[in-house]
């Protein structure tokens, strides 16, 4: 009986935590199905009186919503590829090749990760402007990749270190070059870490607002978070909450789907090395 009570309490706690975390998203979803008038109604309605997908239609017709998504996709994919690629090279070198000063390099990387990105906006903007990359997706891809590299290197390194040295040596005897070893042995064996790194970097890039707002002023280059923030209603005083909610739902869903699909691998990647296995 005591065990059953404990189980019920545990279940209630999980439900409460889930409801607490999901409530804002649920509210966005409900809001996206309401009309603007109903969103502003007092007292507020908890369930849409006349659920409609009109706000979804509007974000794709009245604003270049699809273009924003396309830009975000390009920036996030470019960043993910570049960051994971460079991260893998650096992590392998730092974990396996006995580099002089390797320890110091690792500390420096950790130090860089401690800088809040907000501090870097002004100097980065000057750099991007100097390089003539304003309104160019490369400005975001390079900055995002740089900001995420420390994270990528640390996650990948902790995984690479777990690949037994004997396997690498057997591969060397078999005839692998260092490159072949990394691409065909180390990376496939570290797939969970690679997936974790890639997805988390993707999510960061997909959601990033500040740099995207600062570097890209042209409509055609705009990314989703900036696009949503700049949505405006009929008058400047009106905030089109229904469309904003619809846009949030549309842009969040792909990421949620991706995380669910790779859920198991991400958890493996984040907890690897936590316990002796």
């Amino acid at each position: 009986m005591k065990g059953k009570g404990k189980k019920l309490l545990y279940l209630a706690a999980i439900l409460a935590a889930t409801a607490w975390s999901l409530a804002p998203f649920l509210w966005q979803l409900i809001t996206s199905l309401k009309s603007q008038a109903e969103v502003m109604a007092i007292p507020p309605t908890y369930w849409p009186r006349e659920p409609s997908l009109a706000s979804y239609a509007r974000i794709f017709t009245t604003r270049p919503g699809a273009g924003d998504i396309q830009n975000s996709r390009l920036d996030a994919a470019g960043t993910t590829f570049l960051c994971t690629f460079l991260g893998a090279l650096a992590a392998y070198a730092l974990s396996r090749l006995r580099l002089p000063g390797g320890k110091w390099a690792l500390r420096a990387i950790l130090l860089v990760a401690l800088f809040p990105p907000t501090l870097l906006v002004v100097p980065l903007k000057q750099l991007v402007q100097g390089a003539g990359l304003l309104n160019n997706p490369l400005s975001l891809i390079l900055s995002y990749a740089a900001l995420n590299l420390p994270f990528a290197i640390w996650v990948l390194m902790s995984f690479f270190r777990q690949v037994p040295a004997d396997i690498e040596e057997a591969a060397q005897v078999d005839g692998f070059s260092r490159w072949g070893l990394l691409w065909r042995i180390i990376l496939p064996l570290s797939a969970p870490a690679v997936a974790t790194t890639a997805i988390l970097v993707f999510i960061f890039s997909w959601n990033e607002f500040l740099l995207a707002l600062t570097f890209l002023s042209r409509d055609s280059a705009r990314t989703v978070p900036v696009g949503i923030a700049l949505l405006s209603g009929v008058t400047v005083y009106e905030v089109p909450w229904d469309q904003i909610s619809a846009a949030v739902v549309v842009t969040t869903l792909p990421v949620v789907a991706m995380v669910l699909a790779f859920q198991k691998r991400i958890i493996e990647g984040l907890t690897a090395g936590a316990v002796k296995g």
């Binding site: 040596e169 005897v173 042995i185």
Partner: protein, 341 residues
């Protein structure tokens, strides 16, 4: 196959610890050489230097007469079997075995033929599409061997390949390995700490201690004529009885005035259940039956003496009579501990 020669290899690790102190030996073409020694004697480091996985501080390695000291492992044309097999976990048995050939640009038809040959020889034909995680220890060990065999390298380097197997499988695999390498006429350098493996498999044994070769010779030679007191007591189970000079003198084993260590192997000790001429009475402190033989620990004039007697020894006896025949005695210098005569 080819001859492997190491000349004056030296290696020290950090903190100035000497691992190899000038090691030289040759494994002739087609010869099975065992590097035998206790943990930490430098035998694995020596093997890794031959493979090119570690660099010596000085000295040379020649394979087939060609200096390979500066070459990477892949350019030395050797194959290695690791203690824990080091198979690629994400590839199946076929891919594991074929990888070395693929990387060397061997045509795919030839790869297929060699993989099938090797897997037939090792009894792996049914397992080719399995991944290492789905194999038993013995099967993994055979895949590691297959990976080495298909390469047809100049030499095989094996690092304690049987140490992860259980006792029964180890005994069986020992014989299979010996036959296998005889059949392919491979030059084999085999690292082990197990003297039975070294004695049963090798054409020649190189005994290492503290990074130096203590003796190199045939199993028979090393067992019958150990070059020093270390080899004498390291090989043999139970080990040779070794008496310091004063005890040897007290037992009357030394000529008048001679200062020597005297040793005798337990199986050379003559033991009788009844008094006999020239035999000295001894108390049986311990009798350990092993089946074919029984190992006695005797209190022999106040000294502990171990003797191997036939397995039908009467375990209830508390007394025995023992003799140490002069022709079976080994003498060593008490200072250098080297063999005398």
């Amino acid at each position: 196959m080819a001859e492997v020669e190491v000349r004056n290899l030296r290696k020290s690790f950090e903190l100035g610890m000497t691992c190899l102190g000038g090691v030289s030996f040759t494994a002739r073409d087609g010869e099975f050489v065992a590097l035998l020694g206790a943990s930490g004697c430098g035998k694995t480091t020596l093997l890794r230097i031959i493979a090119g996985l570690e660099q010596p501080d000085s000295g040379r390695v020649l394979i087939g007469g060609r200096e390979v000291s500066g070459l990477s492992p892949k350019d030395r044309d050797i194959a290695m079997v690791f203690q824990n097999y080091a198979l690629y976990p994400h590839l199946n048995v076929r891919e594991n075995i074929a990888m070395g050939l693929k990387l060397r640009g061997v045509p795919s038809g030839e790869i297929e033929r060699r993989v099938l040959d090797a897997s037939r020889m090792l009894g792996l034909s049914e397992l080719l599409s399995r991944r290492p995680a789905a194999l038993s220890g013995g099967q993994r060990q055979r895949v590691a061997l297959g990976r080495a065999l298909v390469r047809q390298p100049k030499a095989f380097l094996l690092d304690e390949p049987l140490s992860n197997l259980d006792a029964v499988l180890r005994e069986k695999t020992r014989g299979e390995l010996k036959l296998l390498f005889k059949r392919v006429r491979g030059t084999v350098i085999y690292v082990t700490h197990d003297q039975v493996e070294a004695m049963t498999m090798a054409d020649r044994i190189v005994v290492l201690e503290a990074g130096c070769i203590q003796q190199a010779g045939s199993p028979e030679e090393i067992y019958r004529r150990p070059a020093n007191a270390f080899v004498a007591t390291f090989l043999g189970a139970p080990p040779m009885n070794l008496f310091p000079e004063d005890q040897a003198a007290a037992l009357g084993l030394l000529p008048q005035g001679a200062r020597r260590l005297a040793g005798i192997r337990p199986e050379d000790v003559l033991v009788s259940q009844a008094p006999r001429d020239g035999f000295q009475e001894a108390l049986v402190a311990l009798a350990e039956p092993t089946g074919a033989a029984t190992i006695l620990t005797l209190d022999f004039g106040g000294l502990a003496l171990r003797a191997a007697v036939p397995g039908n020894w009467d375990l209830s006896l508390s007394k025995a009579w023992a003799a140490l025949p002069g022709e079976s005695l080994h003498y060593f210098d008490p200072g250098s501990r080297e063999r005398l005569s």
